[in-house]
């Protein structure tokens, strides 16, 4: 019998590389920021942050443009009088939720989202969620999760959100594959299409686009994670008896193939079938990456910590686009999820977790990378120092997973370099 062709790892990967951990100012978003894409993905959900004016301002600034008449998120801003006594804050919350649901009958799921202020004053949102679920069932289900900056960094907000949904998923014995992560619909449809073409009987996604199409879970569920930051969700799913399929993440041709192959092996798909389904999109992806990565080849890249996508993306850039990674900074390294990617990155780059932004900027200036991947607060200042930058936030808002986006992903990194080449100033 034929065996699956395996990826060739480097002789020494980064799996056991030492990790630089410094403690200082962290220049990262808090988990609330995830709401910006979560609310677009889950179409009948409202995200109610219980927080301060700062939280509202963050969401507004991260959402960038105020294009939605009344978006499906908002902030219940705590005021002086709420801080005086907790009983009041709960009553006030109930009242605001009441009003909100009366105005928005389209809402079927309400997420109460904890913030730093709500956590510091120990406002118990899980009790509030139970209370409000009783009050508004069956029309609306109320859940809670934390997006606070003292507990979560940026994409961890999505992790907390999805993890909060796991305990209330119905039980099922069906044999199925669960695809985990809030992907853009177009990407999700592509990946599900490929997996179904492999012959996997039932493919579901978490989160589902609305409450009515919700998935079940049980001992015959296998799940695969599409985003490297979903550690808590993976843990919760395993806790419900589902089986985790560990794989490199589906970025680039190689990553997508390895990810799909993991699924194929778990569902006893034959190598022939696998090749038949993947050959054409693989070839397309290889061609697209080759074209888009011309400018990247031989260049160096430095990652500031942002979304936890840094490790899989460094794997893609170093293995498929010919780049050299100088530093790969991640806000948090979730080994259970990213070790497959780490093993594939050849030794060499500094691996850092957490941040002291001033020291890291010193290292970046000294390393003089050809491309720096960083947050919006650092991009223009670094450009002013003549370092080319790529905004990390674009990587979480843009479809980048899978074969059909592999070329786009390389192009995202190539664009700042192309622009510099084209300008005469």
């Amino acid at each position: 019998m034929n065996a699956f062709a395996q990826i060739k790892p480097p002789s020494v990967g980064c799996g056991n590389a030492p990790v630089l951990k410094q403690r200082g100012q962290r220049e990262v978003f808090c988990g609330l920021t995830s709401i910006v894409w979560l609310h677009r993905k889950i179409q009948d959900a409202f995200f109610l942050v219980v927080g301060s004016r700062t939280c509202a301002h963050l969401l507004q600034s991260a959402a960038g443009v105020m294009i939605f008449a009344e978006p499906r998120f908002g902030t219940a801003i705590l005021e002086e009088k709420d801080l005086a006594g907790l009983a009041d804050a709960n009553e006030e919350l109930d009242r605001e939720v009441e009003r909100l649901l009366a105005r928005r009958p389209d809402i079927r799921q309400l997420f109460l989202v904890g913030s730093c202020p709500s956590e510091v004053i120990k406002l118990d949102l899980s009790r509030a969620a139970e209370r409000l679920t009783q009050a508004h069932a069956p029309q609306v289900r109320v859940l809670n999760f934390t997006g606070s900056g003292i507990e979560t960094t940026f994409t961890q907000g999505e992790d907390e959100c999805l993890a909060s949904m796991v305990p209330v998923l119905p039980e099922t014995d069906a044999e199925q594959l669960l695809l985990v992560g809030a992907l853009p619909d177009v990407v999700e449809d592509q990946l599900v299409g490929l997996i179904e073409a492999l012959g996997v009987p039932v493919v579901k996604a978490l989160p589902s686009r609305n409450a009515d199409t919700e998935v079940g879970i049980g001992p015959n569920t296998k799940f695969i994670v599409a985003q490297p930051f979903l550690g808590a969700t993976a843990g919760a799913l395993a806790g419900r008896g589902a089986q985790h399929l560990a794989a490199p993440f589906p970025f680039g041709e190689e990553g997508t193939t390895a990810w799909l192959r993991t699924i194929a092996e778990a569902f006893n798909v034959s190598p022939e079938k696998f090749d038949e389904v993947t050959a054409a999109p693989r070839a397309r992806a290889q061609k697209a990456v080759a074209a888009a990565s011309e400018r990247l080849s031989g260049k160096s890249v430095f990652f500031f910590p942002d979304s936890q996508l840094e490790i899989p993306l460094a794997r893609f850039l170093t293995r498929e686009c010919g780049m050299t990674a100088l530093e790969i900074g991640a806000p948090y390294i979730h080994r259970d999820l990213v070790s497959a990617d780490l093993d594939l990155i050849a030794e060499g780059p500094v691996l850092s977790e957490g941040q002291d932004v001033d020291l890291q900027l010193d290292r970046c200036r000294a390393a003089k990378p050809d491309l720096t991947v960083c947050g919006l607060g650092l991009a223009n200042p670094l450009e002013a120092e003549d370092l080319a930058t790529k905004w990390a936030i674009e990587l979480v808002f843009t479809p980048i997973h899978g074969y059909e986006q592999a070329g786009d992903l390389a192009a995202l990194f190539a664009k700042p370099l192309k622009r510099r080449e084209g300008l005469t100033l």
């Binding site: 808090c30 988990g31 700062t54 600034s61 105020m66 902030t75 705590l78 709420d82 607060g377």
Partner: protein
């Protein structure tokens, strides 16, 4: 607790950041969780600043709570001093740090740093961004200014411009040139580009120009008491206000009432020229911060010939002058920071134009009403590359252009009316450049096919008969929305359930002024 979707103002520590980022040689140590560092991008992205704001955040985490957040604060303070060597430091707490009560002021004082350390107390759960900026600037003036001798010649300070201010960068340039034309030198501009050393010598000026009361009125009042420095009360936005401002400066400085060179000013002639006739009586709704809203109301009425149908501001601190201004216009001021209320007011009034903030621009987009932006909160568009002040002569010129831009130019409007039957101006034909590959004859046929047999359209229980719908399509696209709404409203009021051509023209006559 109050549910908020979009906010006009950030928290007060963002106001403090606007002051710190505007200044040079000052550093802000902010006790705050990591997510609060988002505020940096306001400055680096919206304002395109090429430096990080001079702010060190302690970025404490849950595990630090109750143990060593105070130590963390002191470490951040020390690191910031060692690395940035500022001439002075301001310290404070964001909303979360305010709850854990570490007392940044006391902690930093105990460290014996060799530079002035100014503690800020900004109540995050009561106040907002403008207050934060104003209070920070006032505290900096109080801590750093010193009694000094006046200059022999007459000089003044320009106070109020900050980072992320609405056109503050250019306002300073324009204002300085007007003061120069009066023979008055500018001693210090602050906070924008001022150093702590500059603040120290504020007192050598003879008076202060209050450019932006939202951020400097408190400081101006204190300087008046402390150093007997009078300050100007008129903000010179608009022709009349600029003239009043100049008169005020002359009175304070004891200058003779000579003629001032305003040869750069074009607004008055542009407004009188015949092309502007169509501006007459345009119904405008004005909303912004208090200072810009009041200035806009005067310009709209006196200098553009508009009819002001609504006026309001989002910063409660300026409710009183805005109410007074509205009253003079025979209006009730709208004082709110809830954009849904503003939207409801605009919807009810159906103005022909909005003069507002970026929020109102979005409201206008949704309601199909043109909008010109007159005030913060700012957007990347509010930092144009070209010189575009709001104050002074050039400011008036810029305002004329900005306000007229969203409206269709007068002559063009007449032409569009004359040629409204011509397919080139027909909306279904699309913009000329979009359909440039389609032969004209073919395009015309498509249009005719489409418009020959319009289906009855039903809206709110009112039906548009085919003929009326067809007639409606002949009306130029930029007024059609209004014509449709007015006709439907008229029909509902008259109890008419199907709209004929007759109804359309009756409604037109009804709404004609």
């Amino acid at each position: 607790m109050k549910l908020t979707v979009w906010t006009y103002e950030g928290p007060p520590h963002v106001g403090a950041m606007r002051v710190a980022t505007a200044m040079k040689g000052l550093h802000y140590v902010l006790h705050a969780p990591q997510g609060d560092t988002y505020a940096d991008l306001l400055f680096t992205m919206i304002e395109r600043r090429d430096h990080r704001p001079p702010v060190s955040y302690t970025t404490f985490q849950a595990r630090d709570l109750g143990s060593d957040t105070a130590t963390l604060f002191k470490e951040s303070c020390k690191d910031a001093f060692d690395r940035f060597q500022p001439e002075a430091i301001i310290v404070g707490a964001s909303c979360t740090a305010e709850l854990i009560q570490d007392d940044p002021g006391g902690l930093s004082e105990s460290m014996g740093l060799p530079v002035p350390v100014i503690p800020l107390e900004l109540p995050s759960y009561q106040r907002k961004e403008n207050f934060g900026a104003s209070e920070t600037f006032y505290e900096i003036c109080r801590a750093l200014s010193a009694p000094v001798e006046r200059t022999p010649e007459i000089t003044c300070n320009i106070l109020g411009p900050t980072a992320l201010g609405f056109r503050h960068r250019d306002d300073v340039v324009e204002l300085s040139s007007i003061l120069e034309s009066l023979g008055i030198a500018v001693n210090v501009v602050a906070p924008l580009d001022a150093t702590p050393a500059d603040i120290q010598r504020l007192g050598v000026a003879h008076f202060n120009v209050m450019l932006y009361p939202e951020t400097c009125e408190t400081a101006c009042r204190w300087l008046e008491r402390e150093y007997k420095q009078p300050f100007t009360k008129t903000v010179p936005i608009g022709v009349g206000a600029t003239r009043d401002f100049i008169a005020e400066v002359k009175a304070i400085a004891g200058l003779p009432d000579t003629v001032v060179d305003d040869s750069r000013l074009r607004l008055p002639w542009y407004s009188r020229s015949v092309d502007s006739t169509y501006l007459t009586g345009k119904r405008v709704f004005i909303f912004g911060d208090g200072t810009h809203a009041i200035a806009a109301a005067r310009i709209a009425k006196e200098e553009m010939g508009f009819e002001v149908v609504g006026l309001g501001c989002y910063n409660r601190e300026f409710a009183r002058p805005v109410r007074a201004c509205a009253k003079e216009l025979g209006l009730e001021a709208l004082i709110t920071d809830d954009y849904l209320e503003v939207e409801a007011a605009i919807e009810a009034l159906q103005p022909e134009m909005i003069l507002g903030t970026q929020m109102e621009r979005h409201i206008g987009k949704r309601l199909g009403i043109p909008c010109a932006v007159i005030s913060a909160p700012v957007h990347v568009q509010d930092f144009p590359a070209r010189f575009s002040p709001q104050v002074g002569w050039e400011g008036a010129n810029v305002i004329f252009d900005t306000w007229v831009h969203p409206l269709v130019m007068g002559l063009e409007e007449h032409l569009l009316h004359m040629f409204r039957e011509d397919f080139e101006f027909h909306d279904d034909a699309g913009a000329s450049h979009h359909g440039s590959h389609t032969p004209a004859a073919q395009k015309r046929r498509v249009v005719e096919e489409k418009t020959d047999t319009p289906e009855p359209v039903i809206k709110d229980g009112v039906t548009w008969l085919a003929g009326a719908e067809k007639e409606l399509r002949k009306i130029p696209f930029f007024v059609r929305g209004k014509a449709r709404r007015n006709t439907e409203k008229f029909a509902v009021e008259q109890g008419v359930t199907s709209i004929s051509i007759e109804t359309l023209y009756e409604a037109k006559a009804h709404y004609a002024r």
